[in-house]
């Protein structure tokens, strides 16, 4: 908008040859600027009125009527004292024809041609004016020329200059009018000043509105392109998996698929546990129970296989345990449960055990601990090496090389997840070897119930009353709450679990 302003002032400096719309007359107000910038938006007669008021002219909305001129002094002339006084002979006929040569489809044109007619009719009057009015006359001619130029411009861009033409057309007769009065006196009374200020304000507001609207459009456009890109990427990855897609926009397709499969696995888990429970209570034969137990083992084999597939496509998702509940995630070890923790938890639950079985269980505990330690140390070394590689990725060319090295190292994460899952799988299989079938059935039931409670703990924790956190006596007030929760959980569990961990 400022540029338009400059255009206007430039106009006054450069003279009549300036092709810009001669709103220099309205230099002090914002109205013409808003006209120029409306660019085809609805022509606002109200703004035109305000513009004309500046000239001391009242214009009715009825376009057929001629504008009334109240002979205001050359307040507008005063605004452009630097206008050149070059007198240019412009045949009035040409200007009139210029007006008619443009598309006369708009009321604006009709108005302007009417104004021109009036201008023409007024010209003899101005010609008869005193010599002091030469200035006004010159201005009038100046305006006529400019009007002609505007009309020519209108032929190219009607919407843009339509209002302007109108204004200029209106201006010329107004100038003429002023020709009759004094040209150098400013007679702006309070009312006019207020009106002027209001017009400025209105114009400024409309400019701001338009600016805000444009900004809104811009940001929506950017958002739209962003969404389109995301959509394309997601389609390429086949993310549209029916009901699952809503699990957060930043899941990779491998992760989303795995989350879905894990949810299904949990449902199967409940079903199988129910089978185990009924099997145990029904005192099935060992053969029948074995079938159920073996079914449960393959159920666990299945999730390890799925995790392996998921780790290939999105190792970070698996290794950070995003698919687990928060409480489970708390005890995460390389993308899953820690086998030695499981053994520790089970030891109290599997009574009675024979001597041999006890030895077997303790050996299993020891070997899992050693294997866990070895894998943990290996992973630590991987992390250390990654830290060094990423830290060394300084300058761009070397940096890219270092990043490639880091990527290669990151791919080792997948093998660690695989080995950890392998360890878990072997632990469960070995448990079945050490225990009898009934014991194994009970063992799996205990494991399933344990993780069920851990998952329940996550929801309980999430929904715990928060006021306890805000009270002053934090210690006293939150304790009962925690105990309440523990009591609820205690009823369905053996409290060993929590003391161990």
């Amino acid at each position: 908008m400022a540029s338009h302003r400059l255009g206007e002032t430039g106009l006054s400096d450069s003279g009549p040859s300036n092709p810009h719309v001669p709103y220099a007359v309205f230099h002090g107000s914002n109205v013409p600027t808003s006209f120029i910038n409306q660019e085809g938006s609805a022509f606002d007669f109200g703004e035109l009125e305000e513009a004309i008021v500046l000239q001391g002219v009242k214009i009715r909305n009825d376009e057929a009527k001629a504008p009334l001129f109240t002979g205001r002094p050359a307040a507008t002339l005063e605004m452009f004292p630097s206008w050149p006084m070059r007198f240019q002979t412009t045949p009035r006929g040409s200007s009139k024809s210029g007006g008619e040569s443009t598309d006369s489809g708009s009321a604006v044109n009709t108005f302007s041609s009417k104004a021109e007619v009036q201008m023409e009719s007024e010209s003899p009057i101005s010609k008869n004016a005193s010599s002091s009015d030469h200035q006004a006359f010159d201005h009038q001619k100046h305006l006529q020329l400019q009007q002609q130029q505007i009309q020519q411009e209108m032929a190219n861009d009607r919407s843009r200059t339509g209002p302007s033409q109108n204004q200029s057309a209106v201006k010329a007769p107004q100038e003429k009018r002023k020709g009759g009065g004094s040209t150098s006196e400013k007679q702006l009374d309070a009312k006019t000043l207020r009106r002027l200020a209001q017009n400025r304000e209105a114009a400024r507001k409309s400019r701001l509105r338009k600016k805000a609207y444009v900004q809104q459009l811009e940001s929506s456009r950017m958002k739209l392109t962003q969404i389109e890109q995301d959509l394309q990427r997601a389609r390429a990855q086949g993310l549209f998996l029916g009901g699952c897609g809503g699990a957060g926009g930043n899941l990779s397709s491998g992760a989303a698929i795995f989350d879905m499969e894990y949810a299904r696995w949990l449902e199967d888990d409940h079903r199988l546990m129910a089978e185990l429970r009924t099997g145990l209570h029904a005192h099935l034969s060992d053969g029948d129970l074995r079938l159920i137990v073996e079914g449960y083992i393959s159920h666990y084999d299945e999730i390890f296989r799925l995790k392996g597939v998921a780790a290939k496509s999105d190792v970070f998702h698996v290794i950070t345990g995003l698919w687990l509940t928060p409480a489970e995630r708390c005890f995460l070890w390389i993308g899953g449960f820690r086998p030695s923790d499981l053994i520790k938890m089970l030891i109290g639950q599997l009574d009675p055990l024979t001597e041999q079985q006890l030895v077997g269980i303790y050996r299993l505990q020891q070997s899992t601990q050693q294997a866990e330690e070895a894998l943990s140390q290996g992973q630590e070394q991987l992390q250390q090496s990654l830290i060094e590689t990423i830290a060394a990725a300084g300058p761009v060319i070397d940096g890219m090389q270092q990043m490639a090295i880091a990527l290669a190292k990151l791919s080792n994460l997948e093998s660690f997840v695989r080995q950890a899952d392998n360890l878990r799988q072997q632990t469960l299989h070995q448990l079945c070897h050490v225990l009898t079938i009934r014991q194994a059935a009970r063992c799996f039931l205990v494991i399933g119930e344990y993780y069920g409670r851990l998952r329940a703990l996550s929801s309980l924790w999430a929904s715990r009353p928060r006021e306890s956190l805000m009270s002053e006596d934090h210690h006293n007030s939150c304790q009962p709450t925690a105990t309440d929760h523990l009591q609820i959980v205690h009823q369905s569990t053996v409290h060993n679990h929590f003391s161990t961990f």
């Binding site: 077997g360 050996r363 299993l364 070997s367 899992t368 050693q370 294997a371 330690e373 070895a374 894998l375 140390q377 290996g378 992973q379 070394q381 991987l382 090496s385 080792n412 093998s415 660690f416 695989r418 080995q419 392998n422 360890l423 072997q426 632990t427 299989h429 070995q430 070897h433």
Partner: protein
Amino acid sequence: MHYQTESWGSYMPTRSANMGDPLERIERLASENAVVIFSMSTCCMCHAIKRLFCGMGVNPTVHELDEDPRGKDMERALMRLLGNSSAVPVVFIGGKLVGAMDRVMASHINGSLVPLLKEAGALWL
């Protein structure tokens, strides 16, 4: 356990004694000590397997293939042997192939590793 041997008859017979069959070399190195690990200094899984044996009180002999002039050949031979995408780590106990990390861990969990180590004289308790 035994591993397949390849016939290199069509290969250069004029090679010096040192440029022998990489598998032969592997076999020879594996039988020199009770516990032999073929590894690479940069491999983190190899580091894990070394920690595993050390944690059990075993002192394995480690051959870093990236520090051996014939390491590349041996690496390829090991890959063919195991059918794995990665050649290392590979563990031999008592000259016999045990396998890569997953086999070693599985045998440790199911209790077969310790007797194997004792038999090879790597463990005494």
